[in-house]
């Protein structure tokens, strides 16, 4: 007998991802805003009774009449199966106990599919703390399907659920084989709501108004004046923290990499292998791994904002502003995620159900300063901008903030132009649930953080390692070469150099930009390798010192301006291709960003030179 396949279904914010992680120990991302679970994940679950179950985590849905892409994916998989796979054998339908009355119709719609199911009345402890009293047995009788409760805070709350799964799922596989027909989703919504309200009236014994803490916090957070100020302060604090908190950790990592390089330098006999390890791998990979603390801090903030429930409020506060630009409040969530990485940002644009708004959001997402630009910005700012204080702020921090701001302003401008030209269309609606505030579940939080951190380390270990080795080879050979220009890399770079010289870029930059097309932070590793080879043994002060000697200030500023725009990330382009399903749009994204990068870098270089910097 094959393993039982069970889908986890429920409204956004019903605690699906937490339950999924708890049952499977899996690594699904958890968030409090609608539909972050854009990809279906499957995890394995072994019940106490010995049943092996594949649990499929679906994007959040309120019902079967879906509009947005991720909801359609969920419903399609539920009803028809996908990629040649049969639909799941049964469902665990989650409902947040605190919102039983409002969301009960979702359970009835799922029941209408006609597949075996168990209703999980989730986070019952939080609802009870609010004072809500639910007669679970009555609910089960009225619904005619098994209902089991689950707690948010304690794993013990899952014992009942597991026992229920063992008890109920025994006959599921046989049943689903018998009626694996395409389900009907022709539901009468208003009749179902009427039925749901009727059941709720019977099953809810006492219903207080609303979560008090949420109401009190929102008095400030959603206040017309205080709200935007809090949001701006939060964002400014976040970016300052990324820059200032990471300092000691980065110094330690840098010292570690330098020490490792020296150690390896002493142990290894002189020769090509010595050079490959020290100049190629340690200098290349090391100069990227140094930025891990900044990436951890950035994700820490973004994940905390998501998991606490604040992110949806931020979307509300930004909605009118975004609307005037031609976007939608919902676009704020993908765009803010893009500060961490454009890939999840572009994917979470699936929650925008208007196709033109989604497309506009995808097109401008790469303009948000992603964490891969941090290594570049930090390196150049650290080397060229003095750490003076202006008022209470650090000059380096101000420049960093300015770069972020330039990205945001450009995104807004591009969106504005796009919405009035190529993606013209009717304005769309905003209908969004604001989740109850809660403390992030530490386990979910750490799993999610680890997911992002390990992705960064994996990139450092694969793409950056590979490009460092290849670049080291190209820059070090042929052995007859006496300068960088005569090496293979120099030959390739000198072709590009002609194109890049007008915007102030030198040969080394041209060389670093070639592997830097794969991913932005690769350029830092590439510069590390190039200058380590050039500097030879004397180059012990690190990359920043080498750059100070080699670049003029206008060149450094032009390089920063280039990075605000340049679409140097294969993964982002591949994601854009997949999500837009169009080479034309992907090509357009690449071309417009490249053009902007070239113009911005050129303008910066010439203005800075003219001013006399």
């Amino acid at each position: 007998m094959s393993r039982l396949r069970i889908a986890l279904v429920g409204a956004p914010n019903s605690g699906k991802s937490t339950l999924f992680n708890g049952l499977t120990g899996g690594r699904a991302k958890v968030a409090n805003y609608s539909g972050v679970t854009v990809e279906t994940r499957t995890g394995q679950l072994q019940t106490p009774g010995g049943a092996g179950i594949d649990l499929i985590d679906l994007p959040g849905i309120y019902g079967l009449k879906a509009r947005s892409t991720d909801e359609r994916i969920a419903i399609d998989l539920l009803c028809n199966g996908r990629d040649g796979e049969a639909p799941p054998d049964g469902m665990l339908v989650l409902i947040d106990a605190a919102h039983l009355r409002t969301h009960l119709h979702t359970v009835l719609q799922m029941r209408a599919i006609g597949r075996p199911m168990i209703v999980v009345l989730n986070m019952i402890d939080l609802a009870e703390r609010d004072g809500l009293k639910i007669d679970v047995e009555r609910l089960q009788t009225e619904l005619g399907v098994p209902v089991v409760t689950s707690r948010a805070t304690r794993a013990t709350g899952r014992a009942d659920l597991l026992a229920c799964i063992d008890r109920e799922t025994a006959g599921w596989q046989a049943r689903s084989a018998a009626d694996s027909t395409v389900c009907t989703i022709d539901t009468d919504l208003s009749a179902m709501q009427r039925e749901a309200r009727g059941i709720a009236d019977k099953a809810i014994l006492f219903e207080p108004v609303m979560n008090r803490l949420t109401r009190q916090i929102d008095q400030f957070v959603l206040h017309p004046v205080a709200g935007p100020i809090i949001l701006a302060a939060l964002l400014f604090f976040m970016f300052q923290a990324v820059y200032s908190w990471s300092g000691p950790f980065m110094d330690a990592l840098e010292a570690g990499a330098a020490g490792l390089g020296q150690l390896a330098g002493q142990w290894l006999p002189a020769g090509w292998f010595h050079d490959l390890i020290v100049d190629g791998i340690i200098a290349g990979v090391g100069s990227v791994v140094v930025f891990l603390p900044q990436i951890v801090i950035l994700f820490l903030f973004i994940l905390a904002l998501e998991a606490s429930g604040y992110m949806a409020r931020a979307a509300v506060l930004m909605d009118e502003l975004m609307l005037r630009v031609g976007l939608n409040g919902r676009a704020f969530i993908p765009l803010l995620s893009s500060f961490a990485c454009a890939i999840p940002g572009i994917m979470s644009a699936r929650t925008i159900d208007n196709e033109r708004d989604r497309l506009t959001t995808i097109m401008v997402a790469p303009l948000m300063t992603c964490s891969a630009r941090l290594p570049v910005y930090t390196l150049i700012i650290g080397a060229f901008i003095p750490p003076d204080t202006v008022g209470v702020f650090n000059l380096q921090g101000i420049v960093m903030f300015g770069l972020y701001l330039t990205g945001v302003v450009s995104a807004v401008t591009v969106a504005f132009i796009l919405k009035r030209t190529v993606t013209k269309g009717s304005n769309q609606v905003l209908i969004m649930e604001l989740p109850t505030y809660k403390l992030p579940n530490p386990r979910d939080f750490l799993l999610s953080l680890w997911g992002h951190v390990s992705a960064f380390l994996k990139r450092a270990g694969t793409i950056i390692l590979t490009t460092s080795i290849i670049l080291w080879f190209l820059a070090s050979y042929p052995a007859s070469a006496t300068s960088l220009r005569e090496s293979y890399a120099g030959m390739i770079g000198s072709v590009l150099e002609k194109l890049l010289a007008p915007i102030g870029f030198n040969l080394e930059i041209a060389i670093a930009l070639v592997p830097g097309m794969a991913a932005r932070e690769v350029a830092v590793g590439a510069l590390g390798t190039v200058y380590a080879i050039q500097g030879g043994e004397e180059n012990v002060e690190g990359l920043a010192a080498a750059l100070q000697g080699a670049w003029s200030l206008p060149t450094a500023l032009a390089f920063l301006a280039w990075y605000v725009f340049a679409p140097q990330c294969f993964a982002t382009l591949a994601t854009a291709r997949r999500e837009t399903n169009s080479w034309a749009w992907t090509g357009f994204m690449f071309a417009y960003l490249m053009t902007l990068a070239y113009i911005a870098a050129g303008a910066t270089f010439h203005i800075a030179s003219w001013v006399g910097l």
């Binding site: 309120y62 019902g63 009449k65 509009r67 605190a98 919102h99 009355r101 409002t102 969301h103 119709h105 609010d130 809500l132 919504l189 208003s190 709501q193 009427r194 749901a196 309200r197 219903e207 207080p208 108004v209 609303m210 979560n211 949420t214 109401r215 929102d218 959603l222 206040h223 017309p224 004046v225 709200g227 935007p228 949806a312 509300v316 506060l317 909605d319 009118e320 502003l321 609307l323 005037r324 409040g329 609606v429 905003l430 209908i431 969004m432 649930e433 604001l434 989740p435 109850t436």
Partner: protein
């Protein structure tokens, strides 16, 4: 009256939907608006007083005025 006309702090009940756009009504119903549900305006957005944040039973939901206009309500007590 329609939901967009509701003043802050006043509680009312949903009586029906009125919109030429069937899609919009479905979306509003799916997120949970239904006849006889209790609704209260909790917050207004910072710019142009949009979006509007409503308490629907025990759930907080943000809408723009255009969407709120599609919901008919009966002000109580």
């Amino acid at each position: 009256m329609t939901l967009d006309q509701l003043e802050k702090g006043r509680i009312c009940r949903v009586t029906g939907f009125s919109s030429g756009c069937e899609d919009l009504v479905i979306k509003l119903r799916e997120i949970g608006f239904a006849e006889s549900d209790e609704v209260e305006l909790m917050h207004r957005g910072p710019l142009g007083a949009q979006p509007l944040c409503f308490r629907l039973n025990r759930t907080l939901i943000a809408l723009r005025s255009d969407e709120a206009r599609a919901i008919q309500v009966d002000a109580q007590e």
